[in-house]
Amino acid sequence: MATDMQTKPSGADKEYRPLPQGVGQLGPAWMAFVVASSLVLLIGLFAWWQELSEGMIVTGMRNVGTMGGASWGLYITMVVYFIGVSFAGITIAALIRLFRIDYLRPIARSAELLTVVALILGALAIVVDLGQPLRGIVNLFRYARPQSPFFGTFSLVIAGYLFASLVYLYLGGRRDAAILAKQRSGLQWFHRLWAAGYTDTPAEQERHRNASFWLALAIIPLLVIAHSTLGFVFGLQVGRPGWYGTLQAPAFLALAGVSGIGHVIVLAAVVRRIIDDQARIGSAIFAWLGKFLLLLLLVYLYFMTVELLTLLYATPEVEKELSDALLLGSYAWLYWGSVALLVLPAISLIWQALAHRWSVKWLVAAGIAVNLAAIGKRYLIVVPSQTHGTLLPYETGSYSPSWVEYATVLGMFALGALLVGLFYKVFPALPLSEEEEKEVVSHA
């Protein structure tokens, strides 16, 4: 049953005209999507409620050492993964401004949106992982200690990175908001609010270009710092086998890029199929995304190979148990499965690059594959170092996520999908084309 925001009765002569790109029009497919995501989200909230009321005993996590468990599990895996995904949007946005890659503009807004949503989910994943979530939100800022690598993953990411991404999304959309605000619609107040008095004079345009450029320049170091500190959370610890290492930070950055660009490809394909009726997301954009993904993928595979060779050639005594578990033991299926999900897309991308023909289907397949691999690799960094090869000879531990953890994580994915879906209904996914602009203005 289609409902239509535009045609709500407010006087016979004041009938709303539809906005471009399906904004404000709630079709049956979209409603079904919202209902389905909301259901999954509700299940996730129920699971989290179980955790809040019973304690984290309902998760599969237990103490390392005598209790033989893993104290960080699927949640921290998802923290690392989500914050990794956030890499893409802001990178693309910055690259567009710094190198004036104008033909990428159609995906800029979706990419920025992805960054914002991924960062929100990353912060949420930290919150659900805390034993005292409410106190955590306050104390992580109130008693923030920059000496702790954890500072970078929460306080810095929220305060700096998320804020900068929101500003980007805001500045990039302001012109379109001003145009949309001219048309009478149920969302006019929202577009007016976003435009905030913007009238698209040359002086304003210049100011926006300048602000975006300098923000892009400032955000690149912020991005490197945020993703590197996430690597430092593990890379600076000598107390766990397999964590301490200089490669952790750069490898985290590279895999963040891989999963993020993979996500942008999937999102661009979805937008192109559902919203983009003028085929503005063309093959040039997909070719660029494919090449960028291939580049980052090769960098990451290089890091992975270097790490693997070092481990195989000169395994320190304390790491032997861990590397055996990873390469041959109980984690081997996940390890080699993830490697396959990175190598196969790389081969397919190389093939497409050599043939100069980029297939959206294969790109989407590669995007999904590298994201599954990214989750697998993050899990392998977080969990095995806790269950295997403890420095004191504790018994080998075990960890498998409980239904609560799975449900909460699925709920977070559903929330992310909902946020993206909602955004596309209140704001155009693509920058307004000249025809769309004329159409809107003619209704004003």
Binding site: S71, G131, Q237
Partner: protein, 248 residues
């Protein structure tokens, strides 16, 4: 300036685990939490096997990784060397646990249960009531909930609140009143010693001067304040035997 340290004499330890018991009773810790833990190791192949024991309290490191990584300063080190947790500031991120190479941190996965170790005992039995005066374990040691030290925080670990970290406190509530940690006082063979190592005239300082001491996981660079005497560091050829029920 006072500086506390503990000596673990492996030449004397017989692995009786009385210290673990004393710790649980003193600090009312929840099921499967061992602030003090005694490994019982076996090495070699039958019939040439050898048993050895290794008590493992918190090492109260001078270069404590847990203190370094704590994002809120809930885990801190006092001037006298004791590493403590403020349960009212802890957010339960469990980073300290993963930074620690010794595995001494315990997270409260749930609310402490009554009669956790003694489901089989009928606490309403008059004979038992006679001995326990009506208390049902874990009873609450009131000293644990008081504020201690110059920081005046609830650091004796009495909260056992759901969702926060806890670990060995060197029995700060006993030490502050001039006593010894419960494990030290209980040890039947004086394998554990505790005292001020800054003052050269204390018994523990004399003991250190007369014996060769070593640290657990020296290579981790944590500079522990628990010193071991005799025996040798555990290697990966060691097998742990006779483990208590340790998983909730």
């Amino acid at each position: 300036m006072t500086k506390y340290a503990m000596i673990v004499d492996l030449n004397r330890c017989q692995g009786c685990r009385a210290c673990m018991e004393a710790c649980k009773i003193e600090n009312n810790t929840s099921e499967a939490m061992f602030w003090m833990y005694v490994f019982r190791f076996e090495e070699g192949t039958y019939p040439d096997t050898r048993m050895s024991f290794l008590p493992r309290p918190c090492q109260h490191c001078d270069n404590a990784p847990c203190v370094k990584v704590c994002p809120t300063g809930s885990r801190f080190k006092r001037e006298d060397g004791i590493v403590l947790t403020d349960p009212d500031r802890c957010i339960g991120c469990r980073y300290c646990e993963l930074a620690c190479p010794y595995g001494v941190n315990y997270f409260n996965w749930q609310k402490p249960q009554e009669a956790q170790y003694a489901e089989a005992i009928d606490w309403s039995d008059p004979d038992i009531q006679d001995a326990t005066q009506g208390a049902v374990p874990p009873y609450k040691n009131p000293a644990l909930d008081e504020l201690w030290g110059t920081e005046q925080r609830r650091t004796a670990g009495g909260s056992h609140a759901k969702g926060v970290m806890e670990k060995c406190t060197f029995c700060v509530h006993r030490v502050e009143e001039g006593g010894q940690p419960a494990c030290v006082e209980t040890c039947p063979v004086t394998a554990l010693r505790f005292g001020d190592v800054d003052d050269p005239d204390t018994p523990i300082s004399r003991f250190i001067r007369e014996h060769e001491t070593w640290h657990l996981l020296e290579e981790a660079g944590t500079e522990p304040n628990v010193l071991y005497v005799g025996g040798k560091p555990p290697s990966h050829g060691y097998r742990e035997v006779e483990r208590p029920k340790a998983r909730v």
